[in-house]
């Protein structure tokens, strides 16, 4: 029984770890898409963030510089996306795709040029990364049954970036629904001409939305390579940007719901590795591929209106032309 309890705790703990980059990318996706810009470039931003974080941390030895570098790189990608889709009104899907392919090429090319390790970056020492941190009073809480282990195993002991990701959800929600920027951002994704005629620049507003998204993706990238992992490996984003996009859709373009979707997708991932090779009673062994495909299947079902009705921003995907 105790064993089972810990199994659950560890699975949830792993869920949180897997979900962290998803959460950050999903928040990025929400900002971008609520402003009316399709963002399949989450993947590319995540990847470039991961690379730059690991590269800078390896060269300077500072995790913090790595983080800021990652944010910078990811924001740069956002600006490129904006340049193509806002300034030049290019197709948003095409631009996003280009950025993803660019990122997967560029990270490896630069990785080889800088470190000569076939695209990987050197393994970072412990103090060059964001390491798991014990929160306060862990030892004290240990004495409390149930809550103690929950606090130690699940709540405490994550890297700073996990807590940042968790904080980003209420933050994103607050910005979207309680701030002037958020009001305008939501408006520009629905009826951009209304924003324009209210005397607010559609262009600048959308650029800002993309920049905010870039910051989130940058943090997510840094988490991958200098917190969760200890170096950059080629293609290490491994489709997480797309899963995050699925979470955005699943969450109906709302931060808290998208967060839940990320947790669910993270949980599926975590439980898949736990169930690997386990014969379940009645069902037998569930193929890992089925579990990994579940987020996509669920999203497709949702998009098709079989579970709920998605309501995307009205102006999404359409360049604004006066």
């Amino acid at each position: 029984m105790i064993d089972f309890f810990y199994q659950i705790l560890w699975t949830l703990d792993a869920t949180l770890r897997v979900a962290t980059p998803l959460i950050l990318c999903a928040m990025a996706g929400i900002f971008s898409e609520r402003s009316g810009i399709v963002d399949i470039s989450l993947e590319g931003k995540l990847l470039s963030g991961a690379f730059v974080a690991a590269a800078i941390a390896a060269v300077t030895g500072s995790a913090w510089l790595g983080l800021f570098g990652a944010i910078g790189a990811s924001v740069l990608m956002s600006l490129l996306h904006g340049f193509a889709t806002i300034t030049h009104r290019g197709d948003q899907v095409v631009s996003g795709l280009a950025i993803n392919i660019l990122a997967s090429g560029l990270t490896v090319i630069l990785g080889i040029a800088l470190f000569k390790r076939g695209g990987q970056t050197p393994t970072l020492a412990s103090d060059e990364r964001f390491r798991p941190q014990e929160l306060w009073f862990v030892d004290l809480m240990d004495n409390i049954p149930i809550l103690g282990p929950i606090y130690r195993e699940l709540i405490s002991g994550h890297s700073l970036l996990v807590y940042v990701a968790l904080l980003c959800v209420p933050l994103a929600s607050f910005i979207l629904y309680r701030s002037r920027f958020g009001l305008r951002l939501r408006a520009v994704g629905e009826v951009p001409i209304a924003v324009d005629s209210a005397g607010v620049s559609v262009t600048w507003l959308r650029y800002r939305a993309l920049i905010v998204g870039g910051v989130f993706c940058g943090i997510a990238g840094a988490y991958l390579s200098i917190s969760h992992g200890a170096n950059f490996v080629r293609e290490m984003s491994a489709g997480k940007g797309y899963i995050a996009l699925a979470a955005v859709i699943f969450g109906n373009w709302r931060p808290v719901r998208a967060f839940m979707a990320c947790l669910m997708f993270g949980f599926l991932d975590a439980i898949t590795s736990r169930l690997q090779g386990v014969d379940l009673p009645l069902i037998g062994e569930i193929p890992a591929q089925l579990m990994l495909a579940l987020p996509y299947i669920l999203t497709i079902l949702l998009l098709s209106g079989f579970i709920g009705r998605p309501s995307p921003p009205a102006a999404i995907g359409k360049p604004y032309i006066k």
């Binding site: 193509a84 889709t85 899907v93 660019l102 090429g105 560029l106 797309y242 299947i297 098709s304």
Partner: protein
């Protein structure tokens, strides 16, 4: 007049794409230069690798074959205003059609018939995989861009499971099927030309190249000559007008997606029956995405698609050569070039249009004043 005139047709069809291509190469050249290598040298290594060495042209054309299939797939969907990002998954799953035909018919049918059955089977399987996103777009309004992305991942998951499980070759560690029987193998081009007494260097190039050429011709007839093509293009340009004209928009969307998937599915003919002679893991290798670049560059026209495929074929083949000749640049350079080309000839396609137009107007005005 402050208004910019539209570009003349020749400039729009030839000059502008060429300028975009140059811009993409220029940026990549800067990256090479920043890494400390000579971009001109890198380019010449790639050109040599793609065309010069014996057999290299065959390799290049083999890549070209793949890109023609996926390029035609993307272009078909584009004509109906749909963005099929799922070429990758459709091309992957389509091998199941071939596996099925081989399992059922190969034991007793002669080679020609098996091959002639396998080709449509691959196309049909690709079409089936594209049918669902098409159906969901047409009937349930879920955007085909997102669903085809999801279907790529589903295809990967499905194929990994099949190749590592039910279809795994006995005693094999790496996920792949057994070798296909000889009567399902497409002859290599060197063999085929040998029948006519021609002698060319050995390469993976096989008769699926001919299939690709035929597919291009079918595409051209379909889009510009048939009533179905007319309906597809009408739906692509103006769905309301299509409805007014009595065109069943949902039906056309579904059919178009299936045709698109069928073109992508033909990739399996080359990969499975022509080159690998078995279904291996990840044989699509991103070609479905390259098809997007090909369609964008080729302006959704079969001739443009052929040349764009040739360009990308040369890039992929020449890019492999980079690994041997350089310390610090590898075939990953091709990804960068590909990304840049999608960016410049896709998302930024008309960035240079106003300035180019001004230049052309300026030149023609000068000419006029000389007269």
């Amino acid at each position: 007049m402050s208004n910019v005139k539209p570009l003349p047709r020749w400039a729009d069809l030839l000059l502008l794409p060429l300028i975009n291509l140059c811009a993409a190469f220029f940026i990549c050249g800067i990256v090479v230069w920043m890494i400390g290598e000579n971009p001109i040298e890198a380019l010449s290594v790639m050109i040599k690798g793609a065309f010069y060495y014996p057999g290299s042209l065959g390799y290049t054309l083999n890549y070209t074959t793949n890109f023609m299939f996926t390029g035609l797939a993307v272009a078909t969907a584009f004509h109906a205003g749909l963005f099929n990002i799922g070429g990758e998954g459709q091309a992957y799953v389509s091998s199941l059609g071939i596996v099925f035909v081989i399992a059922v018919f190969a034991p007793f049918l002669p080679a020609l018939l098996v091959i002639l059955l396998c080709i449509p089977a691959a196309a049909i399987m690709g079409g089936v995989w594209a049918f669902i996103p098409g159906y969901l777009q047409a009937k349930r309004g879920s955007h085909v861009v997102i669903t085809t992305i999801m279907f790529n991942f589903l295809a990967f998951a499905l194929m990994v499971w099949l190749l590592a499980g039910p279809l795994l070759e006995r005693g094999q560690q790496s996920p792949q099927t057994p070798k296909i029987p000889d009567n399902a193998i497409l002859p290599k081009m060197e063999t085929a030309l040998g029948w006519f007494g021609m002698d060319i260097a050995s390469s993976p190039l096989n008769l699926s190249f001919i299939v690709a050429l035929v597919a291009s011709f079918i595409f051209w007839i379909l889009i510009w000559k048939t009533r179905l093509g007319y309906q597809i293009r009408t739906v692509g340009k103006n769905q309301d007008a299509a409805h007014y004209a009595g065109i069943n928009v949902s039906r056309i969307i579904i059919i178009t997606m299936m045709i698109s998937g069928a073109f992508a599915g033909l990739l399996a003919v080359n990969a499975v029956m022509g080159v690998q002679h078995r279904v291996v893991l990840n044989y699509t290798a991103g070609y479905g995405f390259t098809g997007i670049a090909v369609a964008l560059m080729g302006r959704n026209h079969p001739i443009g698609i052929f040349f764009a495929s040739l360009l990308f074929g040369a890039l992929f083949q020449g890019g492999a050569e980079l690994d041997f000749e350089f310390q610090s640049i590898t075939r990953d350079m091709v990804l960068l070039i590909q990304g840049m080309i999608i960016l410049f000839s896709g998302a930024l396609a008309y960035m240079f249009s106003p300035s180019l137009s001004r230049v052309i107007t300026g030149l023609s005005r000068k000419e006029a004043s000389h007269d």
